[in-house]
């Protein structure tokens, strides 16, 4: 078992890298996890407004009072231009003299004067707010209400909101994605990274031409050599997979209940796929210096094109078409069913898993053939 020991010895030297990758991944995920999702929450913005009342009528006072319920009325000690520039004030409103009279006459022009930062969102927000208020008052006076009553009614009308609750986003169940189950959605990226960054250099080191030459001269049989390396790979893949399954359970104990056990199968198949990709990378790259680059390219491209980071429903048709030729695409399809982003369908899940397994088999065959070719070339 000398070759197996060698594999483990070289792998041991990469342990820091494994820990680093795992910790970074977990920190990022937990950041999302505990940071909560803001997509389903809505709070009204309150602007900082200074108001000058040149009309000084009950109507203008009622307006100021109403604005005070929705925004923060502030006074500025510094020059208004500076206050607007530094953002201590969002909007300067002046209620023009004759506001109440004009409003009663049905005039809506020239009621206010304002100063604000050009083209800012607060301008649009405040202009819309004032337009809405004036329109409501006008509607009430047009209906025959007196000004005092119209002002009150307008304020009441504007306080009536339609409650909106976000149950699902375009991507599906957001809460599901940001739970322990959602953790499995991001596994392809970390599995690919960990396999390519760790397994590929180990394989490249063991199979470097010079040392292979020396091993070929020794009394070790090629089959034994290959089997010992395979054993090393299997143990590494198992260890990484078990590690992430354990982390998955720690995040959500119910992750594997019900149809959740498919997470185990799904991630297991993808771990094998990642390992085969790592083996292929080790045989195709010219030097170990290029491994990190290859890892980033493969893991990021596959993650973005297959919907690991961005939900598949948000991907364009071309990206989807290309993604179908990548194994992570089918992993995400299964994962989406388990997180609730798509309706669970056992036969479809099995179909997607089979496609994934097909990728594993194909990659395995290519890796074996390439390895044999490499062996032959090492034998001169």
């Amino acid at each position: 078992m000398q070759v197996f020991k060698l594999f483990m010895l070289i792998l041991k030297k990469k342990i820091k890298l494994i820990i680093l990758f795992t910790v970074i991944f977990m920190v990022f995920f937990l950041g999302f996890f505990f940071g909560g999702n803001t997509e389903d929450k809505f709070t009204e913005s309150r602007l900082k407004i200074t108001i000058t009342d040149n009309d000084n009528t009950p109507e203008s006072k009622a307006l100021i009072e109403y604005i005070g319920t929705k925004h923060d009325i502030v006074t500025s000690n510094i020059d208004m231009k500076d206050a607007l520039f530094f953002g201590t004030v969002d909007y300067e409103l002046t209620i023009n003299n004759g506001y109440a009279r004009n409003l009663a006459d049905g005039k809506t022009e020239g009621l206010f004067t304002s100063r604000h930062v050009y083209n800012s969102y607060s301008v649009a927000y405040m202009s819309s707010f004032l337009d809405e208020y004036v329109s409501c008052v006008r509607a009430c006076t047009a209906a025959g209400d007196d000004m005092t009553y119209a002002v009150k009614k307008a304020a009441d009308a504007m306080d009536t909101n339609t409650e909106v609750t976000m149950i699902t986003s375009e991507a599906g169940n957001i809460n599901g994605l940001m739970s322990g189950k959602g953790f499995f959605r991001y596994l392809p990226y970390i599995l690919l990274s960990l396999m390519i960054c760790v397994l590929s250099p180990v394989m490249m080191s063991i199979n470097s031409k010079e040392v292979r030459f020396r091993t070929n001269c020794s009394a070790v049989r090629p089959v034994s050599f290959m089997m010992q390396i395979l054993l090393g790979c299997v143990i590494y893949v198992l260890a990484i997979w078990v590690l992430f399954m354990t982390l998955g359970i720690l995040l959500d104990k119910s992750a594997f209940s019900g149809s959740g056990w498919l997470n185990i199968v799904n991630s297991g198949v993808f771990a094998v796929i990642s390992a085969f990709i790592a083996v292929l990378v080790s045989m195709l790259l010219p030097s170990q210096q290029t491994v990190n680059l290859a890892s980033n390219v493969i893991s990021l491209v596959m993650s973005f094109m297959c919907g690991v980071f961005v939900p598949q429903t948000m991907l364009g048709d071309t990206v989807i078409s290309i993604g179908k030729f990548l194994p992570a695409f089918w992993y995400i399809k299964v994962s989406d069913m388990l997180t609730g982003a798509q309706i669970f369908n056992a036969s479809k899940a099995a179909q997607y898993l089979l496609i994934e397994a097909g990728f594993a088999v194909a990659l395995g065959i290519i890796a074996t053939l390439l390895y044999k070719t490499k062996l032959r070339s090492a034998e001169l």
Partner: protein, 316 residues
């Protein structure tokens, strides 16, 4: 008569139209330091690769320790140690781990392996560097590690393929001394090189190769005796009239003379007191003699005379 360790009979290796080995036959006896000498591309490494069954060949037979060599002859491989031109060690492992790994490919007994690894470390003088990674070692120390990895399992036959390429003179001497010690400890050595000085220094028998053929074989003395030249006299002179050069050319045993760049070169074949006779002629003509040297023929002269070209380029 010593036992035959290696017997190569009429070995032919072709790469398409190119004949890399052309009916090569060699016999190496136990306890020999056998040198394979030849210029780059002469077929030395191809011979070694065929010998180790790393390369298939078109014709001929190879026997090692009296048995046919094949890729699956693991019992034979167990007794062979290989040290190649390129350093073949794992950068991730320390000196000790590297030697332990390569020794472990042959020795399964844990205690015996530990002892052998220790012996190998001491043999190459890497006791103070056992925890060092290869990248931390100097070129010379790295070569020593390369050798330790090849000999740790105490093989009966050690094959060294140009182990001193790009090594400083000090480390080169250390390596050559080590090879001689391995031989004294009972190992049969095959040493390939294009450095004739090294081969002359350590090899008990030498085969000179060119274009895949063995062009000469024997001890250094036997090889130099094969050629006409027995002595080359070189004298530095300011000038040399033609009549004096003709007189020297007419001396007994002198078969070639040349005067160029203020240096007279006289090649002799056999005879005694050739130098005295040449100097007498020069004195008789009141020639102002500068530096005088006399050289015995080298393997390079042997190669030059047989093939008409030098063993290696001047820059090497």
């Amino acid at each position: 008569m010593a036992d035959t360790v290696i017997k190569i009979d009429s070995l032919v290796k072709r790469y398409g139209e190119l004949i890399a080995l052309d009916h090569l036959s060699l016999e190496i006896k136990q306890g020999e330091v056998f040198g394979l000498l030849g210029p780059n591309g002469s077929g030395k490494t191809t011979t070694i690769n065929c010998l180790l069954s790393l390369l298939s060949y078109d014709k001929g037979t190879i026997q090692i320790f009296g048995k046919d060599m094949s890729p699956t002859a693991y019992d034979i491989k167990r007794d062979i140690g290989v040290i190649m031109q390129n350093v073949a060690v794992y950068d991730e492992l320390t000196v000790q781990e590297n030697i332990d790994y390569f020794c472990g490919l042959y020795i399964t007994d844990k205690e015996q392996k530990a002892q052998y690894v220790e012996d190998a470390i001491k043999f190459v003088g890497l006791e103070d560097f056992r925890k060092f990674r290869p990248k931390k070692l100097s070129g010379g120390l790295l070569r020593r590690l390369n050798i330790a990895c090849g000999i740790a399992h105490k093989p009966k036959l050690i094959i060294l393929d140009e182990p001193t390429v790009a090594v400083d003179p000090q480390s080169r001497n250390k390596i050559l001394e080590g090879i001689e010690e391995l031989n004294r400890n009972g190992a049969t050595i095959i040493y390939t090189s294009h450095y004739m000085e090294e081969v002359e220094q350590i090899c008990t028998r030498i085969a000179i190769m060119d274009k895949g053929k063995k062009i000469a074989e024997g001890t250094k003395e036997e090889l130099t005796a094969m050629i006409k030249n027995t002595e080359t006299i070189k004298v530095t002179l300011h000038e040399l009239p033609d009549e004096v050069l003709s007189e020297i050319s007419a001396l007994p045993h002198v078969y070639s003379t040349d005067f160029a760049e203020e240096r007279l070169t006289v090649s002799c074949s056999g005879g005694k007191h050739n130098l005295i006779r040449v100097l007498e002629v020069l004195q008789n003509h009141d020639m102002h003699i500068g530096r005088v040297t006399t050289e015995q023929p080298t393997l390079n002269d042997v190669f030059l005379e047989i093939t008409g070209k030098a063993l290696r380029d001047k820059e090497e």
